[in-house]
């Protein structure tokens, strides 16, 4: 497993980096993590992707990390020795798409141990897709991945496949490669539980039959001592996510990122009506400590019989926003010594270590140890 860095972030420089990676020893598949500020589009990138002769997967993310370096432009190319079986799922927001059928048409009897999944973080039916993923692939493999997209929250092509750059799609790389996955978020409940009484997809309309915004506003303003409407919504909501209870595990975080025209709370990922949620808060230290815990859990989960070649640090963009200047500490806490550490800031995280039901997380740190030389 080898890491190649493109610091320029242009289609031409990416191509050079890919050529370099392909020339540098046997390559089974390529993982490309590109920065949002590169300004890649299908017109400029598709010729590069479609010309590749090995399986490729990845996407565009707000930030990409190489070690402790948080890149705003450029790309990280990881050349994997293992061949990846690539599956693509278009129409992630289409209500008529049966994801199980789409996957069933592509998936055969191949055996693999790790599934890497990157999807358009602004798609409307991520929950349904995750469920179909789990139903199709089962419980005895590790899942790791996250939501690609722009930090402008504008939906645009962001997923890399051998057919080009895609929007509203998911790319799945199935690898017969050992891995160990750790998941932690560090947020704790400060108020709740509240029942989500009305919701539409990722939009929370009411809590306990009161307007969700009003309930949320009251709690957040009381806890923070600030007025929600004195700054952009995300500036304050970034520190007060929702948590959906899960038995025997940390709650699943749902990040409210904006208000729609009716002042309903729009989160990253669905929050079904009927569920109970708490309002969470965390300190920088809590979050950074959770990243270190995720690293340890990933190490513990990695099989002793295999050799890790790289850590992949998948960290929610909103944690970077929340931690601000402290974010360097988070990144540092997620570094494993004696091996390359690569990371991305994502819009939602996907992880399962074979012990918990597969979830789409928000505001969470996922760290994966990947097998390699």
């Amino acid at each position: 497993m080898k890491v190649h860095i493109d610091t320029v972030g242009k289609p031409e420089s990416l191509k050079l980096t890919l050529d370099e990676a392909l020339a540098d020893g046997p390559v089974g598949s390529l993982l490309i993590l590109a920065c949002d500020d590169n300004g890649f589009s299908p017109d400029t990138i598709d010729p590069v992707l479609t010309a590749l002769s090995v399986p490729v997967f990845g996407g565009v993310f707000p930030y990409v990390m190489s070690g402790t370096d948080v890149m705003r432009t450029g790309c990280v190319v990881i050349a994997l020795e293992h061949h990846a079986e690539i599956y693509t799922v278009p129409g992630l927001s289409d209500p008529m798409t049966d994801f199980e059928d789409v996957l069933a048409d592509q998936v055969g009897d191949e055996e693999f141990k790790t599934l890497m999944v990157f999807l358009d973080g602004f798609s409307a039916r991520i929950k349904a897709f995750i469920e179909a993923l789990y139903t199709t692939f089962g419980l005895e493999i590790n899942y790791v991945g996250g939501g690609a997209g722009s930090r402008s929250f504008v939906k645009a092509p962001c997923v890399f496949t051998n057919d080009g750059m895609k929007v509203d799609a998911a790319v799945i790389a199935a690898l017969d490669m050992e891995s160990g996955v750790g998941v932690r978020h560090g947020w704790s409940p400060i108020s709740g539980p509240y029942q989500v009484t009305e919701a539409e997809g990722s939009k929370i309309i009411s809590l306990d039959w009161s307007p969700a915004y009003d309930v949320y506003k009251e709690v957040v303003e009381e806890h923070s001592g600030r007025q929600l409407e004195d700054q952009p919504f995300l500036d304050l909501s970034i520190g007060y996510p929702f948590g959906v209870a899960k038995k025997g595990s940390e709650s699943v975080v749902r990040d409210p990122v904006w208000l729609d025209a009716e002042r309903n709370l729009v989160c990253v990922g669905e929050v079904p009506a009927g569920e109970y949620v708490d309002i969470l808060h965390g300190s920088a230290d809590d979050l950074i400590a959770s990243s270190a815990q995720a690293l340890e859990r990933a190490r513990e989960a990695f099989p002793a019989t295999a050799k890790p070649g790289l850590t992949l640090f998948i960290d929610c963009l909103s944690r970077a926003y929340f931690l601000k200047d402290e974010y360097e500490r988070e990144v540092a806490a997620a570094q494993a010594p004696d091996m390359p550490n690569i990371g991305v800031c994502t819009i939602g995280e996907i992880a399962n270590n074979g012990r918990d039901y597969l979830e789409f997380y928000n505001k969470t740190t996922v760290i994966a140890f990947l097998e390699g030389e």
Partner: protein, 541 residues
């Protein structure tokens, strides 16, 4: 129960039974079970019993993909299969069952009235209170599953009924006959497209909207409607009731309808339903046939009158002519036998006597011809009075031979009877059968100059066959059928060959065919003719 567990249970309950389709319902429900309880896998089983053997079959599983050595597969395989009724009851009574596969915990819980639920969870597992708290949720899931099964069966039944309804509706709508339901007052309740077409309307709806009184608008004669309704009220149904009807454009036709009367719960006449067909072409043909029949009867009457007239007006003078001609010849013979005549007078009288012989012969021939014509006319008109009885063809043939022996006395032709005395009886007209036989023998005599005329008879199959075989001049090739036609004679009437009236064989054919038999001709071996007829034996006819 801890508040957290209570909340989780509530969330699971809220996700159960939100669809009436099993797959959709279980997808949502089971996913929520797994998510909220943080389980790795789950399956719902339906308990089925056949021939006293009970088993649990997977209805829905998450995940669906399982390796053969999968923890989930192993957990599923642990669910017992093929239990006896007692074994099944014991197993269910032992639930919930807590087990393990490798490092994973397994939980099998009853879904009352449906089957079982399997959950697979990593450590930490579910506590006993947690498991107990799930029992009411499982009961709700079970009810939802049963409801989905019932719903599916109902949907299948609805689909079957819809298919049946569509089939019958298609039969009604596509029928070429008009089908209707109408109130007692004559208002259409339902009609099919064919009925609308018959009455000249574009659509069934137009017919129903524009016709408020069938009796007044469709029936040309109100009395026909009254009779129709009266019959219905009396018998409850009417078959092939014909009436003249009026179309939308005012033209008329003929209709045949069959209908039945329906009653309400109180037993009162409620509505009429039936089918009808336009029979105008048939009716026209029927009327034409009636007219033709009347005309034929008229013609037949004319013919009968003609026959009567001929019978009287022709025969009467002919009888006088023949009678006096015979007397004249007799007197001339008496004169010629005496000695008082001179040679000259005797010669003249002898010529006159010859001439009178011709008059007599021709008169007899004319008489025979008139009789034959009358006979044939009666036969063809069906006016012949038959006297059918059990007769013996042996006796008939003997009689015929005896009667015609005189024809062979002064010619070198032998008449030979070659038939048994015990021919089986037949049903026939004694006199007519003798007529036929004598006719055939007479013809043979006329057309045979030397040799013999043999009368043979015997049983052939289910009939008695009589053959008149002569060594005469025979029938020209290809004329075997023609000779049975009326007025067909053999030979040239001017060359002196024996003559017939041309009607004898035609009459014989009419007679034999009336008897259910057959008459025919074929050449005799070595020259001559064989005229044969067959009549069914009485026991088999």
């Amino acid at each position: 129960m801890a508040l957290d567990q209570e909340r989780l249970n509530y969330e699971i309950v809220m996700a159960i039974g939100n669809s009436q389709v099993m797959d959709v319902m279980l997808k949502e429900s089971l996913t929520t079970y797994l998510r909220k309880l943080n389980c790795l896998a789950g399956a719902v089983f339906r308990q089925e019993e056949k021939d006293g053997v009970s088993c649990f079959n997977v209805v829905h599983a998450i995940p669906k993909r399982m390796r053969p050595d999968s923890v989930f597969r192993k957990a599923i395989d642990r669910i017992p299969s093929e239990l006896t009724r007692t074994g099944h009851e014991s197993y269910v009574a032992s639930l919930p069952e807590v087990g393990s596969v490798g490092e994973f915990h397994t939980y099998v819980m009853e879904l009352p009235g449906f089957g079982a639920l399997l959950l697979v969870k990593s450590a930490p597992g579910l506590s006993e209170p947690d498991i107990k708290s799930l029992s009411s949720i499982n009961a709700k899931l079970a009810r939802a599953c049963v409801f989905c099964d019932v719903n599916e069966r109902l949907n299948e039944e609805i689909v079957e009924r819809k298919k049946a309804e569509e089939k019958y509706r298609a039969m009604v709508d596509n029928s070429l006959d008009g089908i209707y339901q109408s109130s007692m007052e004559g208002k259409y309740l339902h009609v099919n497209p064919a009925l609308a077409r018959i009455f000249g309307y574009s659509t069934p709806e137009q017919l129903m909207n524009e016709v408020s009184d069938v009796g007044m608008l469709h029936y040309v004669h109100a009395s026909d409607r009254q009779r129709f309704v009266k019959s219905l009220l009396k018998d409850g149904q009417v078959h092939m009731f014909e009436f003249e009807y009026r179309r939308k454009d005012g033209t008329r036709g003929w209709m045949s309808t069959s209908a039945r009367l329906n009653h309400d719960e109180a037993g009162n006449p409620s509505y009429i339903e039936g089918a009808c067909r336009d029979i105008s072409p048939t009716k026209r043909a029927e009327l034409a046939l009636m007219e033709a029949k009347l005309q034929a009867e008229h013609l037949s009457q004319i013919k009968s009158n003609l026959i009567s007239m001929v019978s009287h007006e022709l025969r009467t003078p002919l009888t006088s002519i023949l009678g006096f001609a015979i007397i004249m010849r007799k007197r001339l013979r008496e004169l010629l036998s005496g000695d008082e005549l001179t040679d000259r007078v005797a010669a003249i009288l002898s010529r006159v006597e010859d001439n009178s012989g011709v008059i007599v012969a021709e008169g007899q021939r004319l008489t025979e011809m008139i009789n034959n014509v009358l006979d044939l006319a009666k036969l063809e008109a069906g006016q012949y009075e038959w006297d059918m009885e059990t007769v013996s063809l042996s006796e008939i043939l003997k009689h015929s031979v005896s009667t015609t022996e005189i024809l062979f006395q002064e010619c070198p032709v032998d008449l030979v009877g070659d038939f048994p005395d015990d021919l089986p009886p037949v049903l026939g007209d004694h006199g007519r059968l003798i007529q036929v036989t004598i006719n055939l023998i007479s013809n043979a005599a006329k057309f045979t100059e030397e040799g013999e005329v043999r009368i043979a008879a015997g049983v052939e199959g289910e009939s008695v066959t009589v053959r008149v075989i002569d060594s005469g001049i025979g029938v020209p090739e290809g004329k075997s059928e023609e000779i049975f036609e009326t007025f067909r004679q053999l030979g040239n009437t001017l060359t002196g060959k024996p003559q017939g009236s041309g009607l004898g064989l035609a009459i014989s054919r009419e007679i034999i065919e009336f008897h259910g038999g057959r008459i025919w001709h074929k050449p005799a071996p070595g020259g001559g003719s064989v005229f044969a007829f067959s009549i069914p034996i009485l026991s088999l006819s």
